[in-house]
Symmetry: C2
């Protein structure tokens, strides 16, 4: 039987394995420190397509195919595709997978979408609902920029707190338990936390309280502390949000999470050389960093126990125009 | 153990019950034949708020509260809220539930979102991941109209194939099995089906092939036929999509589904009196019709075995502008 702990953490009775994973990215991602971890890098932002949105669809298709190939299974073995992106009505996801004849579950959790799908995939395989389930999530700098901010041609300036939307897609496949692949052992889906931040150029500050809420609930549920993990990995808080999260744990709990803590948005770019301000963001950020970099490095033995906490900012341009604050959310998945 | 059938239908080993359900709606919905089934009807479209989007957030909050009240539980008993809507970045859902401190799983499946959540909720309770899970989904005529089509003030004309977006929200709660409540016994999440329809004013035609795909897979998996159900209920195909689905089954399988077949989009309005062309649509359509009308009528004994097949059209204004066709999807949930 699965165990449901007081704060909602689910301890999986039959932990499934991460059986396949891959990431694809764009030119800027290839100039960053994680270049070698992308299965495919596009030379230009259109990926051979006529629009950025169609390019983003291609990113997802490629990520799914590379992940399937890494798993020595075929696309037909996948029972479910959990997928989402940042575009209005999540069109990158639905158009990318319209030819698969595979059950499709669309998600929207902003940049937490990948963690949501990873958790759902693990729960599906654990319960016997699926043999293999894929989570495929993307973002694209140009499609996001023009939808959320300004036309690309405008060349809008960005404050230091802003983050750079990753052009990339990541896909991770959860399958039957195998001894030599990492397992997903527990999942905690988070609640929405609205700390009242209204600056849409400071997503890190909006998401950090949600990350704190979910991670501290997880620690409490599992009676663990940061030193029990080889790596604590947040989604895309960026440099500023990462510092806030470290401060929150220091102030509220008197504990230091900084020793074994990474953030996908900080890792993906070289902030000094690449002019990305607070770091990377976008649903494709944690999707590609987790699938392309973290999974292979766990397999190589670099880390054994990883707590992945994917973060999302649940705003829209319209909600900001209407004076709303920015609710955050964070879903946690523990990998052993 | 749960059984997974060849086309993907999951037969639940411990079928959970529908323990609570409620719908709220607007003025036009109160003029239709289902008026008495709404727990609350707003006198005007703003629901006391300053914008239509904030009004839609209120719709979801009210629907959740009425559903919880109908279940004689409290909001704290709900372990998960599965929620979605049609607004860009699904803001109605995330803002509606930001104060609950309940695990939140955002979904996007256009008008199939409610069926997706209902299926996921049932699978969560069945597996012991949740004691109670709520699915809360909305749409609002005015927020949808200005986002997808024209400013309200423009008064755009609508072709006969067009559908009217429902102003409403529905919430259904899945909980422990109880003898006097209907049970969810099987779930089939559908694949995306793109029949090449490009007319964004004819969603019924775009979604009917997906409904056919999922329902025929379900019949095949379960060795059942239309006569095995007291009611087959599609989401919001409208009058035109409903006729197409009947024709598809007649032509492809030589069977007649029309005898015990209803569509939420056809039921919610009086087409002759209410000027809604092909019928109702929007994510709130099947959400409110199922939660407000179908669940209470099942409880009263009007139907015993119901196959609910929620349908969605996975387009965006931008995908249509870029010349894309309209992919459809359909998720099926069987209630006994």
């Amino acid at each position: 039987m699965n165990t449901k702990l007081p704060n909602g953490t689910i301890i999986l009775s039959s932990p499934p394995s991460i059986t396949g994973a891959a990431a694809v990215g764009g030119k800027k991602e290839a100039e960053g420190p994680l270049k070698e971890y992308f299965s495919y890098i596009a030379k230009e932002g259109h990926f051979g397509q006529t629009t950025w949105e169609k390019a983003e669809m291609e990113l997802q298709k490629e990520a799914l195919q590379f992940a399937v190939d890494s798993d020595s299974i075929s696309l037909k073995d996948i029972d479910y595709i959990f997928s989402g992106d940042l575009l209005n009505q999540c069109i990158a996801s639905s158009f990318a997978h319209r030819s698969t004849d595979t059950a499709f579950l669309g998600m929207y959790g902003a940049c937490s979408t990948f963690a949501e799908g990873l958790g759902l995939s693990a729960l599906f395989v654990n319960a016997g609902y699926a043999s293999y389930a894929a989570t495929c999530v993307s973002s694209h700098f140009c499609s996001a920029e023009r939808q959320y901010r300004f036309p690309m041609e405008y060349g809008g300036q960005r404050p230091p707190t802003a983050q750079w939307t990753v052009t990339g897609a990541g896909c991770t496949i959860i399958g039957p338990s195998t001894p030599d692949s990492p397992h997903i052992t527990s999942v905690l889906f988070g609640a929405i936390v609205d700390a009242g931040i209204t600056d849409a150029n400071n997503m890190g500050a909006a998401m950090a309280p949600a990350a704190y809420d979910t991670i501290s609930k997880f620690f409490e549920d599992t009676h663990t502390s940061p030193s029990d993990y080889d790596l604590i990995l947040t989604g895309d808080l960026g440099e500023i949000g990462k510092d806030i999260l470290i401060d929150l744990f220091r102030m509220e709990n008197g504990i230091d999470i900084s020793k074994n803590y990474m953030d996908c948005g900080v890792e993906i770019y070289d902030r000094k050389a690449q002019d990305v301000n607070s770091g990377g963001s976008g649903a494709g950020c944690s999707a590609s960093v987790f699938s392309g970099f973290i999974v292979p490095e766990i397999k190589k033995g670099r880390w054994s126990r990883v707590l992945f906490a994917g973060t999302g900012a649940l705003l829209s341009p319209l909600s900001s125009q209407q004076g709303e604050s920015i609710p955050g959310i964070c879903h946690a998945v523990c990998i052993n």
